[in-house]
């Protein structure tokens, strides 16, 4: 038998070959060291790919900021756990009932319910709760979720001292900004499948001067992504002191201009798209468009600008920056860029 190609090896490892073919392959692998090495590599790739994909399961739900009820603090990343206790109770009973029936009736369904690895329990719980949640009236769980979010206060935060904030921003932003950096850096010597090794690098943070970090990060993000409003603040090239002065002037404007504003239309674009595919009799899954909305322009700073939130849930919906002394420039991915005069400012609803 000639040497094995990759596709055949993977099919063999995936159990997709018929018995005769599989026997031929395993006999060949037993006697051919070259193919044996390929098989070992393939096993590593299969496991590595699986691990990488598992990292995608932990998606933070919506984009509401997590303030502190103990429940939320314990498990901030998975929305399903914000359901009220009575919902959880009923859901738990349903999970047991469904789980029992499923296991008793159809052992092959185990794969639908079993966790990928023990470490992925939260995605398992989220998945099964999602199932149970759909068994309840879906609107019930949505309502309880929404009311939990509303009950949580969202006080405006003053901007923290410059030095530690720059470090935090640098850490969080490095994910996106890093691939745009010109540094060639020594190879990390990462092995195939070494997905869990990020922890060793997460703690390391360079400590340049705060102004330079902020400028540097903003400049790189701005250069790469045309959407960012903060691009307007940082003209390239200028000497560091001049840039720092421009930044601090803008920052003062932004502190003064922060607050609530009336905007004409703020609605998820997705609503229109889903209406095309969903028949008229199905319940609409997204909130309808409102003619005029109030949004909160926060002082929370990110490399992309300051944060825009809805006043109802505090959900992050975009970024803003000062556009001169009397107007603000909003960048809302769902509704595009817009500039508002400070006269659009309103008192924040309680």
């Amino acid at each position: 038998m000639t040497h094995l190609d990759e596709g055949t090896i993977h099919a063999w490892l995936d159990g997709a070959l018929d018995d005769a073919e599989a026997r031929r392959v395993s006999e060949h692998v037993a006697s051919c060291s070259k193919c044996g090495a390929l098989v070992a590599e393939a096993r590593g790739l299969i496991a590595g790919a699986s691990r990488i994909l598992t990292a995608l399961d932990d998606v933070p739900a919506g984009i509401a900021p997590r303030r502190v009820p103990a429940r939320a603090a314990a498990n901030p990343a998975t929305r399903h756990w914000q359901a009220a206790p009575w919902v959880m109770g009923i859901a738990a009973v349903l999970i047991l009932a469904i789980g029992l029936r499923t296991w008793l009736d159809d052992p092959s369904a185990k794969s639908a319910v079993a966790p990928v690895t023990p470490l992925r329990m939260d995605s398992l719980r989220a998945a099964t709760l999602g199932e149970a949640g759909a068994q309840l009236a879906d609107s019930t769980s949505r309502v309880s979720r929404a009311s939990v979010r509303q009950a949580v206060p969202a006080p405006p935060r003053t901007v923290a001292a410059l030095e530690p904030r720059a470090r935090l921003v640098e850490q969080a932003a490095s994910v996106e900004a890093a691939h745009r950096r010109v540094g060639a850096g020594a190879a990390a010597g990462a092995r195939v499948g070494a997905v869990g090794g990020v922890a060793s690098t997460a703690g390391a943070a360079p400590e340049p001067s705060a102004a330079a970090v902020e400028v540097g990060v903003a400049k790189k993000s701005a250069a790469a992504d045309a959407i960012l409003p903060s691009a307007a603040l940082i003209p390239v090239p200028q000497s560091a002191p001049m840039v720092a002065r421009a930044v601090s002037r803008a920052r003062l404007d932004e502190r003064r201009l922060a607050g609530c504003y009336r905007v004409d239309v703020v609605a998820p674009r997705r609503a229109a798209a889903m209406e095309v595919t969903v028949k008229a009799e199905a319940t609409p899954l997204v909130a309808p468009v409102t003619p005029s909305s109030i949004v909160r322009l926060d002082t929370t700073m990110t490399p992309r600008g300051r944060v825009v939130r809805t006043v109802t849930t505090g959900e992050v919906i975009g970024a803003w920056s000062a556009a001169g002394a009397d107007s603000v420039r909003l960048m809302l991915p769902s509704a595009g860029p817009r500039t508002l005069p400070s006269s659009n400012g309103v008192v924040c609803p309680p």
């Binding site: 990759e6 596709g7 055949t8 090896i9 993977h10 099919a11 995936d14 997709a16 393939a42 590595g48 790919a49 699986s50 990488i52 994909l53 990292a55 995608l56 998606v59 919506g62 984009i63 900021p65 997590r66 303030r67 901030p76 990343a77 469904i98 159809d106 794969s111 998945a127 999602g130 199932e131 759909a134 923290a160 935090l168 921003v169 850490q171 969080a172 932003a173 490095s174 994910v175 996106e176 900004a177 691939h179 950096r181 540094g183 060639a184 850096g185 190879a187 990390a188 499948g193 090794g197 990020v198 997460a202 703690g203 540097g216 595919t277 997204v286 929370t300 992309r304 991915p333 769902s334």
Partner: protein, 170 residues
Amino acid sequence: MTDVEALFRQYHAPLVRYLTRRLGDRDWADEVAQETFVRALRQPDLKNERAWIFAVATNLVRDEARKDMRRRRHLELLSAEAKAESGDAPPDELVRSEERALARRAVEMLSETDREALLMKEEGLDYHEIAEALELSVASVGTTLSRARRRLVEAYEDLRRQEEGGRRTG
């Protein structure tokens, strides 16, 4: 008559996980999953149920996913940064979001078919089901998966190296 309740019990969880990984948004994944099962209701009879369900869900998201991906990624990054800034996020959460962002970028570097085939394999679909759902020949599924796995792992390692290198010089 298709027993949608049984279908739901068996396939809803893996479908939602598949869609979450594909789209990076659990709300959206839930909606598409709902729509998929609504359509299953209209089918008088379903052979190869799992392949059909994953095929319908995949087609539902294909166009939308391309358009919306940038917007959602933008928002996800914004919120992660805002969380980090507000000091609410514990350090291991930052690590996890970082890994997730890297994984997402690596996955998006795959071609659509490669990505979908790999995600379906992770949900337990066999080669025949993947071939049917994606309209491939069964013989090509092995090659597709081997290519997808290799490219995913290499892309991820490259991104990690770039990021670590950037950290040191930045």
